[in-house]
């Protein structure tokens, strides 16, 4: 764990994230351009036609929504067990991003569902558990804002995040455990043709780099805000 605490130190984090950020920003731009180019060049799917284009933005958004929650859960665990202040900052900084990706996953998914399933929404296990993820994010953010004492807010929010993490495997495996309208996984199982797989993976990478970039910027912002608060408490007007 020592390596983690070395980089979890706010000063080290500022240095390291400052060095990494240019690369994640360039990664976002390159993967986005290449993914969009290949995506719009891909032929229509024999069943879905051109709505396959929706999957190139739906799957990345939904994947990042779950990964951001996973990141919050890991940070929450670090915060509860080791009481490291940076892990609270990191968890809190990821939440609005995760909520946004969840909303985008829901919106792009329902815009795909209407032409393909004939409905924008159905209460199947995948869609319902994913909607629950949005509510978990909103509840998590509300809890942070509801408790004034930052240490207590961090503990309560961390406990909520860890309780809610049970929803992540439910989302993931819902398409296997229940008979859902939502189709099963098709990336790892190799069911996706390379002409669709390449733009999808590139856009997933783009969304991943974007999340990493924004998360780091938001953590850096929170560190500066905390320094400013400390200075003000020390009597600097």
């Amino acid at each position: 764990m020592n390596w983690l605490f070395r980089y979890a130190n706010p000063h080290e984090f500022m240095r390291l994230s400052g060095a990494v950020l240019p690369f994640t920003v360039i990664g976002t731009a390159l993967c986005l351009l290449a993914g969009l180019y290949l995506g719009f060049s891909a032929p229509p799917d024999y069943q879905q036609g051109r709505t396959v284009l929706l999957l190139f933005i739906h799957v990345p958004a939904a994947t990042m929504a779950e990964m951001a929650y996973g990141a919050i859960a890991v940070c929450s665990l670090l915060s509860l067990v080791w009481r490291h202040p940076l892990s609270d900052i990191a968890a809190r900084a990821a939440a609005p991003l995760g909520a946004l990706f969840t909303a985008l996953g829901l919106i792009t998914g329902s815009l795909w569902g209407k032409p393909m399933w004939g409905t924008y929404w159905v209460w199947d296990a995948r869609l319902t558990s994913f909607l629950l993820l949005l509510f978990l994010y909103l509840g998590y953010m509300a809890l942070w804002n509801a408790i004034e004492d930052e240490i207590r807010a961090a503990r309560a929010a961390a406990i909520l995040a860890l309780v809610g993490v049970v929803n992540i495997p439910i989302i993931k495996f819902s398409v296997e455990w229940w008979n859902t309208l939502h189709q099963g996984e098709s990336i790892v199982s190799g069911k996706l043709a390379p002409v669709f797989l390449a733009p999808l993976l590139l856009l997933m990478a783009a969304y991943g780099f974007l999340f990493a970039s924004l998360w780091m910027v938001r953590i850096r912002t929170a560190i500066l805000e905390r320094r400013a608060r400390t200075l003000m408490q020390q009597g600097v007007p």
Binding site: Y37, F40, S41, G49, R50, T51, L53, L54, I57, H58, A61, P96, L97, L100, A103, L104, I107, T108, L111, W112, K114, P115, L210, L214, V217, R218, R220, T221, L224, E225, R227, A228, L231, M232, V236, P237
Partner: protein, 47 residues
């Protein structure tokens, strides 16, 4: 690149539009917050 979506355009373009607007907005918002925090801290540190 082929931008002809046929009858599916009414679903594909809004999805791409909303995603683009949302992701661009959160990027600008995050950068603006960073600049604000940086300016405030340097103001405090000068005093």
């Amino acid at each position: 690149m082929n931008f002809d979506m046929g009858s599916y355009g009414a679903f594909i373009w809004p999805a791409y539009g909303i995603s683009a607007v949302a992701l661009i907005a959160v990027t600008f918002w995050s950068i603006a917050a960073w600049r604000r925090a940086k300016a405030k801290l340097s103001r405090l540190e000068k005093k």
